[in-house]
Symmetry: D2
Subunit: 134 residues, 4 copies
């Protein structure tokens, strides 16, 4: 299974008075990486929403913070999809600074109807691209 | 003209690695104060949007940062509306920590059609309450 | 064991273009609640840092998003500490809108030396208050 | 005088329930552009702080929001320094989506002692590079 790498630079907006990246902001980095992974597969989420009434939302996640990232760090977000079927996708996402693993996450994404927020199967044309990526 | 006071506590999310409140986050504090001022006048912005197709958006602002706020500070946001007519409102907003003035802002708010984002006159029933407050 | 309740209002800053609270921002709400729980026990984190060289940081968390919160919602963050010993605390935090459970989290907090970021035992004077609360 | 261009992609984290970029988040985009401009000149702000005890902070700004940016937009931040002398720099920053000007800002940056937060002259080795850029 392939991994998708997305670089992220740490700016002041990402840090807190502890001198490190504020814990909730790693979730932004992982969201950006998933967005760019979808884009690399050929899917724009604004089009999925307007043309297919489809919205991807975080259903649940497990996070472990191993070491803190700091202002100005150049990070790499490694993302891998483990499973995509029905109305659900499972991602493993690791955040690295060089060789150091800073943060690990398992993220379950729900595929939703953009208006009702009810589960909606991932369309076949998306699953095909995802499995081609796996 | 009356001022409307709204207290804000500084949490880690608001600070940056400089050890102080990140400059953009003062705009959040001022937005919260304007929202609560509208609520105190009897207006809920979600209802204004769904029932009157009305959205308030920042048109322009001038900000001066005098002294930094820090983690755990208890701040007070003082807001005063200087002018409200047509599709525009002008606020003066000052952020205090006790007697110390930390940040001063003049904020011009546009009244917009929530779908087209075009200017839309502030409804009379709102202006009446605002002027009662002035 | 007692729970600590902290109210949070949803402002525009907390929402995203999906019309709901952005998933990472629930972590802010839970951080605020933990900060206010510590304050209610008599501890200010800025003093713990300067006087005791002590910093609390999120070590790991599990989150489940059940239903979305929306702009203007009045939420309640219910927090309960399950365990506090050594250099670690375990929180259960639930986010409610009235009777509806929106988000559930288990959060493990590490007690760290504020400079080295290495584990540092929670001081006895804090554990005593925490267990009094349990 | 040269301008420095920095691209920014709009992610969910940047938007709000109005469907557009939340007004305070444009300040993040402009901060990132100033950081990258300094980096392009050869200066890393973490090194300026640890080696020269120097911190750049926003002193004041004027902002005008012309049109809203939306989720998934590819923006360009154009930055130009108008003046740099003493302990102060003046930036003009414009945010574009293609040909459309979305946001205009004048930003005055103060050069500060990183510990006392008092004004501190911009070192000559930095001014030289800045003027070379002008």
């Amino acid at each position: 299974m392939q991994t998708f790498d997305w670089p992220v630079r740490v700016y002041y907006e990402d840090t807190d008075a502890g001198g490190v990246v504020y814990h909730a902001n790693y979730l932004n980095f992982m969201e950006r990486a998933r967005t760019e992974w979808l884009r690399a597969l050929g899917f724009e989420q604004d089009q999925l929403r307007t043309e297919h009434n489809l919205l991807f939302a975080v259903h649940s996640m497990q996070l472990t913070y191993r070491r803190p990232a700091r202002f100005n760090d150049a990070l790499l977000i490694q993302s891998r999809i483990n499973k995509a079927s029905g109305a659900s996708m499972q991602f493993e996402q690791n955040i690295y600074r060089g060789e150091e693993l800073l943060c690990q996450a398992s993220v379950r994404i729900a595929s939703l109807d953009a208006e009702s927020f009810r589960p909606k199967s991932i369309p076949t044309f998306i699953l095909t691209e995802m499995h081609g990526d796996c």
